[in-house]
Amino acid sequence: MTQQPKTSTAPASEPPKKRGVPRRNLLFGGAAASLGALAGAATLLPGGKDQGELPPSSMAIHGSQTVPFYGARQAGISTDAQSHANFVALELNPDLPADRIKALLKLLTDDAARLTQGRGALADTEVELAASPARLTVTFGFGPRLVELVNPAQKPAWLKPLPAFSVDKLRPEFNDGDLLLQICSDDPVSVAHAQRMLLKDARSFASVKWVQQGFRRAHGTENPGTTMRNLFGQVDGTANPQPDTGWHEDVVWGREEIAPWLENGTSLVIRRIEMNLDTWDELDRPGRDASVGRRMDNGAPLTGTNEHDEPDFEALNSSGFPVIEDFAHMRRARPENPVERIFRRGYNYDGQPAAGDISGSGLIFASYQADVQKQFTPIQKRLDELDMLNMWTVPTGSAVFAVPPGCAEGGFIGEQLFT
């Protein structure tokens, strides 16, 4: 799958209105001529308002909203998921010494601290693009090599590629990485600018290994707190440990049996999963509902009515079969051991279709958990063995990162590794 091309959202090919006759009037020249007044008006089209001169809008403008950068934990994890996310994995230059890695982390921390608060980065050449962060967050994750180069003694046992799974069709261009930047905002321009600034500061230390661009519903389209839908149309995230609950605390930030690698640190698994929308189309509603064990329309378990009703895994239908089938994704993903829980914070992607195809869609499956091996891997193993959804999904990328704690003003992300 090719990554979505990095075009800007503004159609660059469309000339500004002021420059002469709009193309439409050329195409429909006859009609335009018969409406002489309209054709004449083309040259008189008023320009837009000048920057900063627009009257106040009745829409709630949210560009100035910020998420604090400094804190015991990094932002962008327990933060309500923003509309847009770019996941950027960097590969450190060969033989980069620890003091250069420190210099890199200080530069990137400073950029993130400024940009997330709506200030330009130092030496920001497009400082105007920084002015509307729209809840921009930058979250850093460390791959195995970065931790090995700086402080091998601190490397957690789980910081390594996941074991191979039979469903995997991994492509090296979406695997692994030494340093991850998860850049999220409710505005894609803010994401693009932050990425540009961070990468300018990283380029003398590292190169880009992969970029994955993801999205959810735009800000303001639905009530905040509405569970996202993936591109299969499923309500995706219902059984997630919601931020601000003790459960979320435990799952993401750890407790006794699942201690985080560093206090206030966690881990991030990113799986790029292709979703075959064409074969999914062949499946009717009952089959779709059965594949997960939840209803497509509102996400309710097949044994309930509302999205957040507890599923009844014991319930049988009139023929004596389980209502939530044995192969249902929800049944397979739900653990018997309560430790095996994860916090999913994924994004849809919709890239260039392969030749002859009409869709190149999928999920950037991103999950946070204190301990990859104890929490994530057992679930993925069960899904690998049996999960109806495997019929339509193919993992094509896989990466594991250790997420360091946050920092206070004056500190930098990853400072604990340099002590």
Partner: protein, 198 residues
């Protein structure tokens, strides 16, 4: 549910460490010891009425490079920056950028220095006034921290640190001044870097 408390983060200890590093305003170039400080905290020499922040310099393999920042004057009197020095380079000058005869932008020493107006500020930025460091003692790499000192008309000095950034702009032509001070310019500066016309 076993809800843990995570409020034990030691902001105060870090704040103290940051404050301690603020006191160390005079040290050599490339001082890596300030690891508790952000790349560019605003350094204000206590005795000075001027402060400078947003300080950075452009990475370069050798030769010369420039430093930038925002200087504020909190007094009711104009204060002039009359000179600059740094252990990172043989010499440092105060430069302005003017339109050259050929239409290109040229930089040259600013006569009389930089006047920071009473209760005002000046911005040192690419394409504009800047501090030129010539005869770099070694390459300046992204992420390095360079110590600089400004001499003021009041007789005070203002010490600060500039973090080095990878930056493609700030390529003003150095005009005909390049020969004057025996400066050894970088040999592999990219196209568009300060050129040295005779």
């Amino acid at each position: 549910m076993n809800k843990m408390t995570f409020k034990s983060f030691r902001y105060t200890a870090l704040a103290v460490a940051a404050a301690a590093s603020l006191a160390l305003t005079s040290c050599g170039a490339y001082d890596e010891s300030r690891n508790a400080a952000a790349p560019t905290p605003a350094y204000a020499a206590p005795a000075s009425a001027l402060t400078i922040d947003e300080t950075w310099a452009k990475a370069i393999d050798g030769g010369m490079t420039s430093a930038f920042g925002t200087v504020r004057n909190s007094t009711g009197e104009d204060i002039t920056i009359v000179g600059a020095s740094t252990p990172a380079a043989k010499t440092a000058e105060l430069h302005e950028v003017i339109a050259g005869a050929d239409g290109g932008m040229k930089m040259q020493p600013k006569e009389g220095g930089f006047v920071v107006p009473a209760n005002g500020e000046i911005v040192l930025e690419p394409g504009n006034d800047h501090i030129m460091m010539m005869g770099l003692v070694k390459p300046v790499q992204a992420g390095d921290e360079i110590s600089l000192t400004l001499e003021l008309s009041t007789g005070d000095t203002l010490d600060f640190t500039a973090v080095v950034k990878d930056f493609s702009g700030a390529n003003e032509d150095y005009g005909d001044l390049a020969d004057d001070e025996g400066m050894d310019h970088g040999t592999d500066t990219p196209a568009g870097s300060p050129t040295h016309t005779k």
